[in-house]
Subunit: 337 residues, 2 copies
Amino acid sequence: MEIAHPYLLFLGDVPDSLAAKTAIGIVDWRKDWCLGQVRLEGCAADTGLPDMGIAEGAAAGARTMIVGAVNAGGRLPEHWIESIVAALNAGMNVASGLHVRLGSIPAIREAAERNGRALHDVRHNSETFETGKGTKRSGKRILTVGTDCSVGKKYTALAMDKALNERGFSSSFCATGQTGVFISGRGLALDAVVADFIAGAAEWLSPATEDTHWQVIEGQGSLYHPSFAGVSLGLLHGSQPDAFIVCHEPTRTTMRGVQTPLPGIQQVIDLTIQCGQLTNPDIQCIGVSVNTAALSEDDAWKYLAKIGEEFGLPATDPVRFGIEAMVDKIVAEYGAP
Amino acid sequence: MEIAHPYLLFLGDVPDSLAAKTAIGIVDWRKDWCLGQVRLEGCAADTGLPDMGIAEGAAAGARTMIVGAVNAGGRLPEHWIESIVAALNAGMNVASGLHVRLGSIPAIREAAERNGRALHDVRHNSETFETGKGTKRSGKRILTVGTDCSVGKKYTALAMDKALNERGFSSSFCATGQTGVFISGRGLALDAVVADFIAGAAEWLSPATEDTHWQVIEGQGSLYHPSFAGVSLGLLHGSQPDAFIVCHEPTRTTMRGVQTPLPGIQQVIDLTIQCGQLTNPDIQCIGVSVNTAALSEDDAWKYLAKIGEEFGLPATDPVRFGIEAMVDKIVAEYGAP
């Protein structure tokens, strides 16, 4: 799925920033693709973009309105439908990460058909995939993996892609989750693919490229997460990474949404190599990315130094301290651009 | 999904037995659920059941007609539609393992609605699952795993379930693939579940039971198969087996449909334990089930003796030599019924 930009971000009337985290993530990484935000009365979230009406956004050149917020329960509130229809009538496509399909709502489907506009439901996909083949493709790949869900895999991949490009590498980001798809304008939510095709979809997402090009692939879940490990393993096999970065949150004790204890970083490195060798015998870990938001700056430095020494790998918090050390590691292992 | 029996098996006009392997598998294991077969002119497959017309099958008491054959390409031939509509008009439900949904064909959908009959598309599912939780459930579970796809995991699970029941255990078979669903009259094709819910669906398939009850769960794929390992891992985590049986075909060198070399039995045992411990710390291997069809009886005995000695586990070909040795192992490890 390819989503046309510039974007107009629709925040509805959500009660807090957390409910607009998709929109905020888009602005963090692709502010230059975003013309403005549409907020209904009572909206308590703010991306910092200029407030616009829908007609104003269309006149400014927005090609897609993104529903970048979710209300409690993930449903589409009745009173948002009017705004979505207005966006379609104004000539924009509409993209959404909600569970409900936009096209399942008659007023929206009819407006899209009448105006010849596209509806993108990023949580769903109609793409047909082959099953994974496991054969080696040209090009180089980095995958972010995790000790858990929601430990910074998307952020780390985006930061790595940006840093590689800034250092003169040819690099691109491969999105595997909904916010990542909006940020890159393409990709798919891998967790919405039918199980038989996880690895095949991952192969499709990171196709053969020139040998000097790096694809930085957004990881999903964790090989140790009892809900989502199947997705993580299919993604690992399909993306056949040369290099991976382990993402970790040091204060967590159980995995997200379940009672299972968090695995150790070494366990994740070992199992990722053991399983990843099936499709890339040369797979190696090139660093540990730590979300230190819960630590003081001093504690964060100490923790990163300890991790770096323990594993003999670059360890950093890309939000606080950048990700240059991992680019250095890429240069050391695979050569300069 | 629950499929009402007795069954009438529809074979269409397929050119060979392989195309009717679903129907033949049902007759192998549930002949007592099958009243007869419906064959169109030119059909070269034969399950050995009495030939019947559709009206005759309905009069004999068939509750579901199963489309137990596939033509080349997996499509539903135009001239089969008439028979399916006739079955619905005669008061039967219709179940199919074809890729196409029965309800997507207007004549079939209308006949089902008109007659108030159910259409079961075993390759699809409309069930909503929770994500996997990974918490321990009561009851005991055996999972069959494999060095590859199509190495006898379904057969081994069915044979084990039958042997356990015959030895006085309380046991049931949990189907995870289409033929298994027809054989047990319930279950689901796990590879058709959306990726996020693989483990959750596996938990749903093998729910908490009495502690003395054994669920024997049909495995899928292989942790080492680059197309399907994600399904295998989600099924392993969700089914949280106490015991597993490794299924193997000794003459194969590469995995089915791909160029990847077949893993060793020890590798499969090790990775299954390593990953399976996440949801069941006591997981252990209780035997190796070998499909020796390609070996002479003498070579088969020698091979099984070698494997049994190498791994210190019961090794058998359940088709040729029965599966009693694994029931003995269950008694030795977990006690008599």
